[in-house]
Assembly symmetry: C3
Homo-oligomer: 160 residues x 3
């Protein structure tokens, strides 16, 4: 199938909660596996899914956000049932028992399937996250206009 | 109008919060009433909207989720203002006063209008929810590929 | 470009959290700036973004909602990091430092760019918000059928 005929999916990943990130990557990899061209635009809390390791900004909020986000994608907690980390631990345990991939594995699958990962430039500035703190596979740090352009041509658009 | 010409809506229902479930069913029934073909794909916390009664898994998280979800759709709390159940009680009271349908009534209307309700197989496994614990009207328990296929052909796609 | 050829975006703004409202208005103004026709359908907690000032209903929940929503759009707190107002204060400080517009400024930009702001009639009734408590630029208070109609013709649909 020619590039221009491919069906497209564009999603905004706003949430940094483990369960929502899981849903985002499950939809993205599912779509890519079925031959779609997929763009994930990470903004606000979603940016943690692109971090290499601890993000530490210079200002007070930057440092606070760094603390909250330390450890990157594997430390994300579910939006419910967090219980100071207990929810995350149990979820991971159950997911392993059911042979469900981890967030980091799902993200790698997305990368392997050619899902385009882009970061929101403005959120990165406000939250004091630098390009070098993000995984190398991030394709670009762009403005909202980039998402709009991709989404206009897409068959599926989602805000997660 | 021929089946293949119908406009379509496909939504992922991820949230189990009363207010978001209400929004999901209000959009779904509104769309179906206007002649659209509607598919609701329930995943994670959203699965509670399909439960018959208390869901109890075998493992620790399964039992805990069963406790959180006991009572099914009518026991869902709003995402804000929950106050240990008080928010739900007040919301219901006000909604009744304004003659707004309850969640269970809205769900029944959706079923009557032919809205297709499907459950996410993987979430059901992780959360230890069995098919027989869900209402009979659930059409199928499927993978994310099913949602992708429906959404590709849809005019409206939403993640709630 | 003729009116009927314009690309369209329709979004449901369900959330009243500062960060999500910010994302909603950033996407809406970005889309409008690129020449799209944009409709924002505000429902539930999202209605606070249309308030002039304190909303006070007559019933208990109405008064409670009025308290939560006092101050309108500028008093919205982020969904994470709220710390009794501290999160909002820090966010605003950082956003000003980075010359990011405030929510009220973004909303004004949306209005200036012709973004159509509509309120959900049913939510307004349940939450006891009257038309005169909302900013004059709100175009109409409508039912969900209006959103469905707009969304059917839209190239991008989002639930925020």
């Amino acid at each position: 199938m020619a590039e221009e005929e491919k069906k497209k999916l564009a999603m905004i990943v706003f949430s940094g909660d483990m369960d929502k990130l899981f849903a985002a990557f499950a939809v993205a990899t599912g779509a890519a596996a079925s031959g779609m061209e997929v763009t994930m635009f990470f903004t606000f809390w979603g940016l943690r899914a692109l971090k290499k390791k601890a993000v530490t900004g210079r200002g007070l909020l930057g440092r606070l956000l760094g603390l909250m986000f330390r450890g990157g994608i594997e430390k994300a907690s579910p939006s419910k049932l967090s219980f100071g980390g207990l929810g995350r631990w149990m979820f991971k345990k159950m997911m392993r028992a059911k042979r469900v991939p981890s967030l980091a594995e799902l993200r790698q699958t997305a990368i392997d399937l050619g899902v385009k990962l882009v970061g929101c430039q403005m959120s990165m500035e406000v939250m004091e996250i630098r390009r070098e703190e993000m995984i190398d596979e991030v394709e670009a740090c762009v403005g909202v206009a980039y998402f709009i352009e991709q989404a206009q041509q897409s068959d599926i658009t989602l805000f997660i």
